[in-house]
Symmetry: C2
Subunit: 412 residues, 2 copies
């Protein structure tokens, strides 16, 4: 594509507005926004009315539109826009992690079938170029692990709690006031946003496609003062950590779980709306990528890079998809966890055989559990108001080795 | 390239040996080492003798060798190997920053003329995928600044001095013992290694090609206890920082200078052999990339990624080269510096007009100076045993604004 590309934009919030401004001023990016699709055409706008339309077809049916940039929050409407665009051979840039994660295999197939390119760097970890880096740089054979703080809103809340002694409720309100958290913060604090990003990142890191709903995810919404006190007494902070790990046997474990982190942990100093991704590979050891993960500009930054890449005909090649033949998703992973419930623990059936040395007046329990079991009892844990967290010093132990460690292991 | 690529390797030190081991075990990387060129054929080897040759032509003249991996330390011999290989249409992976930086325009031209690809991620910042990221992800129009700790050896020494109160000499010896510094450490501690990397990074960040010798570079070799005391009294650490900055007028300033960093600075916590790169762009704000910068494995990691990329026909496109028409290299930048000499400062002619409030018994002076002036007086500074450092809180001020700030500015 060497001509100036014509963009049809859906959504005109702060990212869309910033994007329009930058593209109008940019001399070298060969791209211009020719039409903007919005839900509410009657809203006052800073740009001429002829640029806007309330009718998606006006963009999707226009053969002169080369690229569709989708920046709306409604995942279902986004799915319609993106799939229709791809089927008409239009390249697409989207920031919608929920939509991408839920439909990834289909979106890959559509790209192949219709020859259009779908880029979504903005969907994962704000301004950190993690998808492009995984896609272009890291070979899956050398990759051991990709983990990170993938959600800026919940990290902002956790930072305020630990650094400024704010209550959970006050910290959440601050996050919402600054635009880092939605009015309904469930996706952020429940870990679902991180889980969608993890599914996308796992596809580009290891070539495996796992539907988000198959991934265990536990948020920070049940975090109580007792948990904060436990963390502080032990010199921990809490971070919401998403993790994709390759096991020796060729299986990939995926999870989103709060984690107690020590001051020596790389995540300890990642504060506020920042995201961090740690990539561990055979030779390179640990690489850290740190950047802003919430707010309009980080998203805008990633969208811009994707648009710029389209001017060079860039597309994800999903190179690892075919290589991943030997890799499979597995929940057969042993984790060392802390579980604190409002009701008594025995009701959950968690006690027998667990390490009881850390049992503290019935308020919390510390022990080992299989990831698959956590997935099964998630609803019961949530109903009991349980807060669940892993320990940073406890490297996840391969379930295969549990026979050597039977004293501290029970599969409940 | 879909067949298994055949690699001719030059150099069989720890990186070469690790590379051979990984490639022998890897099932998915379609590459094998078929011949290894070494200087000393009589050295005992762990591999069969028929793999080795003391005659470079045996590799360079062999039409079945697709890719040459050059891992020798001699920059001149490396230049011959690399240019000969490119001229014969062989793709090349090299880790030799000095050679790449000194000959970059010619190496780009050779790639264009002969259609062969030259990759050198391993030349810059160890395992951090910075060249690939700059090349593929960041548009130069949006990039403001790329700066970093580019040399693991000098950072290791500075860390030991500040964290363990080691003397400069002891820290240097430790770095050499661990293989982080060469027997002749001049390139590392003199800043020349960082300077070569900065020249390469500037080409991929901004599309400008500047010969390393045109870039001001001042190392840590004159660091004395007084300087360490000054830093500690002011709660600073010292880091050797390489920096490429775009100015409003379209000029690019480049420098390698020790810097006093405060605890709030991102570089403060980058310790030992780690490298860090901070990329600042219009929308994304500051991105940090942190990874190991010295030792064999980080280099091996980058070499492996480049080999893997060649199996997909990857090549640098130097996209920003043509875009950089409006950008030019400039030393017209005002810096706030600390200068401490062994001999009295007036002998250097630095005193008149400088801020004298920080003058301390003649031992050091603090003030503003043009980068171009530093370049001119570098030899005199070195002869006077001067230690030079910039301040992290003093954002470099555009020289254009110096008329507004005449009281603290003198161009000596």
């Amino acid at each position: 594509m060497n001509k100036k590309i014509k963009i049809g934009l859906f959504g005109f919030g702060c990212v869309g507005q910033g994007l329009y401004r930058v593209l109008s001023q940019a001399q070298h990016i060969q791209a211009e926004i020719v039409k903007i699709g919005v839900k509410d055409l009657s809203k006052p706008r800073t740009l001429p009315a002829h640029l806007f339309t309330g009718n998606a077809a006006e963009i999707l049916d226009d053969p002169s539109v080369d690229v569709v940039v989708e920046l709306i929050s409604d995942a279902e409407a986004a799915y319609d826009i993106v799939t229709t665009s791809l089927k008409r051979g239009k390249h697409v840039v989207t920031a919608n992690k929920k939509m991408v994660a839920a439909h990834l295999p289909e979106l890959v197939a559509l790209q192949e079938e219709y020859g259009a390119s779908l880029l979504y760097e903005a969907s994962s970890c704000g301004s950190i170029p993690i998808i492009r880096t995984l896609e272009e740089y890291y070979d899956n054979e050398l990759l051991h692990e990709v983990k990170g703080i993938f959600n800026g809103s919940s990290n902002f809340i956790l930072s305020k709690i630990f650094n400024e002694n704010l209550s959970y409720a006050t910290a959440l309100k601050q996050a919402q006031g600054l635009g880092f958290a939605e009015a309904d913060p469930t996706l952020d604090i429940g870990g679902y946003d991180s889980r969608s990003k993890l599914a996308i990142i796992a596809a580009h890191a290891f070539g495996i496609f796992v539907h988000p709903e198959e991934i265990f995810c536990y948020g920070i919404d049940n975090l109580k003062q007792q948990d904060i006190d436990f963390a502080k007494e032990n010199n921990f902070k809490i971070r919401l950590v998403a993790r994709a790990q390759k096991r020796a046997a060729g299986s990939i474990n995926l999870s989103v779980i709060p984690q107690f982190v020590k001051s020596t942990d790389k995540f300890y100093s990642v504060e506020n709306e920042y995201n961090a991704v740690l990539v561990e590979a055979a030779f390179s050891d640990q690489q850290a990528f740190i950047g802003k993960g919430a707010g309009g500009n980080p998203t805008g930054s990633a969208v811009l890079s994707d648009i710029s890449a389209l001017t060079y005909d860039y597309r994800y090649e999903y190179k690892k998809k075919s290589k991943a033949a030997g890799l499979s998703y597995s929940t057969d992973q042993l984790l060392e966890v802390y579980i604190r419930t409002n009701s008594a623990l025995p009701e959950l059936g968690l006690v027998p055989g667990w390490e009881s040395s850390h049992f503290n007046g019935g308020s919390y329990i510390k022990g080992k559990i299989l990831l698959s079991r956590l997935l099964n009892i998630k609803q019961a844990l949530q109903q009991a108001g349980a807060f669940v967290a892993t320990f940073s010093e406890a490297e996840a132990i391969n379930a295969e080795s549990k026979t050597a460690d039977t004293k501290t292991v029970v599969i409940i």
